[in-house]
């Protein structure tokens, strides 16, 4: 951590009002979004953490089973919700259409849910609209979206602009401008792009970064390489390791420590190779994002089952990396 009182990169990141965490399936979006939520709350912010494609993961991290559209305060100042387009739609209809009898919303909402499946942009704008709405109403200091995987997030973030262009006139169109204002303001909104340092995820991340840039106008503010197998040796150590295993030293060590040293050599070689391959792909990731976008690395936390322990460690790493 930097000197007490100085503003860190993490502070700057969390000073935004709306953060989207995205990336390919399984790379760690939910873990990282949750870690960012915890870090924000620890900084005294009132946080809304939203699982956009709900699987109940976030709830599980906090030991809360039933989380739905209504935010639940899982710890001080940290609220969690799961996106539900049908509920978002009823809320929308209630807010903007002032449909008088609440019972009428049911069938209309169902029908609309169906239309929104087919009509481009409608479903997406409901998701983004709900998140932007919470920002506009200043209900929270920061809204963190554990967003959908590659591709889909582009249509979500591009939906206000798209709908604005595609729809002639109508209420939805009238509602897009303020959303665009929030989304395109880099001081208010940003995207954290998560990837693992492997070939396909990095390829997809690069493609996604490009599409986010050209199609959404929402700023990419942080690249995160997750599950990195860390390098264990400096260059000098590395060459000495090679010298040990190929030279006369290994038999000496074997005599002192035992036969099992060979297993350690094998394990180390595998580890080194994994780390090297990770490192190579990490470089590709960084260069595809460009030098202007900071990138942090989060190590693979080995041998743990899914859950809270990992989130805690990930949060600590982010804190250290972003001082």
């Amino acid at each position: 951590m930097g000197a007490r009182g100085s503003i860190t990169d993490l502070d700057r990141l969390l000073d935004r009002k709306l953060l989207f965490v995205t990336g390919k399936g399984g790379v760690g979006k939910t873990t990282i979004a949750t870690a960012l939520g915890i870090l924000s709350a620890e900084r005294g912010k009132r946080v809304l953490l939203c699982e956009v494609e709900p699987k109940g993961e976030v709830g599980r991290y906090f030991g809360v089973r039933e989380i739905g559209f209504e935010p639940v305060e899982v710890r001080t100042d940290l609220f969690v919700m799961e996106m539900d387009t049908e509920r978002a739609l009823s809320e929308y209809l209630r807010l903007y259409l002032k449909v008088p009898i609440p019972t009428k919303i049911g069938p209309i909402a169902r029908t609309f849910d169906f239309v929104s499946k087919a009509a481009p942009g409608v479903r997406e704008i409901l998701v983004v609209g709900k998140l932007c709405y919470e920002v506009r109403e200043k209900n929270y200091d920061i809204v963190i979206a554990d967003s959908t995987a590659t591709g889909h997030v582009v249509s979500q973030l591009a939906s206000p602009q798209g709908v604005n262009e595609l729809f002639g006139v109508g209420l939805v169109k009238d509602q897009t401008k303020w959303m665009i204002d929030i989304l395109k303001d880099e001081h208010q909104s940003g995207i954290c792009l998560v990837s693992t340092a492997e070939e396909t995820p990095v390829d997809e991340a690069a493609e996604l970064a490009e599409r986010l840039r050209s199609e959404t106008g929402v700023s990419l503010v942080l690249g995160i390489l997750n599950k990195m197998v860390p390098k264990i040796f400096s260059e000098a150590e590395e060459s000495y390791f090679n010298e040990i295993v190929s030279g006369p030293m290994l038999p000496v060590i074997r005599r002192v420590l035992g036969e099992g040293i060979d297993a350690l050599v094998d394990a180390t070689s595998l580890w080194k190779a994994l780390a090297a391959s990770n490192h190579q792909n990490a470089e590709r990731f960084k260069s595809s994002l460009g030098t202007s976008i900071p990138t942090i690395e989060i190590p693979l936390i080995p041998g743990m089952t899914a859950g809270v322990g990992i989130v805690r460690e990930v949060a600590e790493t982010i804190e250290v990396e972003l001082t």
Binding site: K55, T200, M249, L264, L270
Partner: protein, 392 residues
Amino acid sequence: MKEEGLSLIDLVSDLQIVLVAGSGGVGKTTTSAALGVALATSLEKEVLVITIDPAKRLAGAMGIDALSHVPQEVQLKDAKGHLFAAMVDMKASWDEMISRYAPDKDTVQKIVENPIYESISTRFVQSHDYIAVEALYEFYKEGIYDIIVVDTPPSRNAIDFLDAPKNMEEFFASRLLRWLTIPRRSKLVASAFRPFYLVAERILGSAFVKDISEFFFDFQQLYEGFVARARQVAALVASDKAGFIVVTIPEEIPTTEAIFFISEVARRKLNMSAVVMNRSLPASIFSRAGDEVADKISNETQEMLAKTFDAIGLDPTEGEVPLASKSQLVSKILVEMANSYEGLRDQKTMEEIQVSRLTVREGKVFTTTQQSGDVSSVESLRKLATNMSIYR
């Protein structure tokens, strides 16, 4: 650890269709390709692998690219059969499907040119899932290939893929779809639907509602073709010509999904062929002797280790590093080696927990090992394939 007489190849060699499923990023595409290589190598058969979004270098290595979804032969050395690979192109497959089922050219034109077709063809009602099954059926019907291995698209739930034909059919049969097309079918919207349209037009704008309505009106004319095909596809997947392989990795969440998938396959009375635990760590690395040495190193301080080596005198003539710092360096390296070993061993323990969760449900768990780099050449696929072994 090959068990006598049981290999993944044996399990699927009598099938005509092998569907490879699993949650995102676990290695479905890689496993499909490796399986294709293995099948074509050891059997005198014509094997086709249909992949979806393969990694660029892997696609390059197999000689396929996004521009063509025509199967290309993959050159294999010393193979008994032949391997072909194709890539599913969503947009092209949609276009083809529209032309196949539309009653006339005019309708095709109208659908394809509707402003909402583009976005619909890329995402509505799990279209990716459906297109994958559809593409499979086209190739199957051609009758050129003995075995078709199908990679399935990344989806939120592996199970979506199984429901794709049914969802497609339901979509077409739904009352809501009929409602949507009413403005187009009758100028006078039935009064029962009026509130819906008033609201729709107010929210979406009337031009947009008209576009949607037009589109689905035209689209509905494909109904019969679509539904008939969806049923044939579903029947094929359910027949004993087809079998599923579910892929997972040594992590809790993907394995939970795999278990769920297995139970769904059983519930639907489909044919489960095997489970593949990808990225398994080679068991040969770990041993009791290894554990002991790692323990020894971890329990001693770096200084003590250094002293030991000073005492026995590590060959002072070797290299440029002076002796004193040499033993320091050696002990530092040894500590890192012990850490690597223990880190991987913890990972292996986790893997065994996941495997045991699977073996309870499904006896046949195979492993493919973690490679030290990306799997992006035919050679590395072959290596992966020869390593496929049954877990014990």
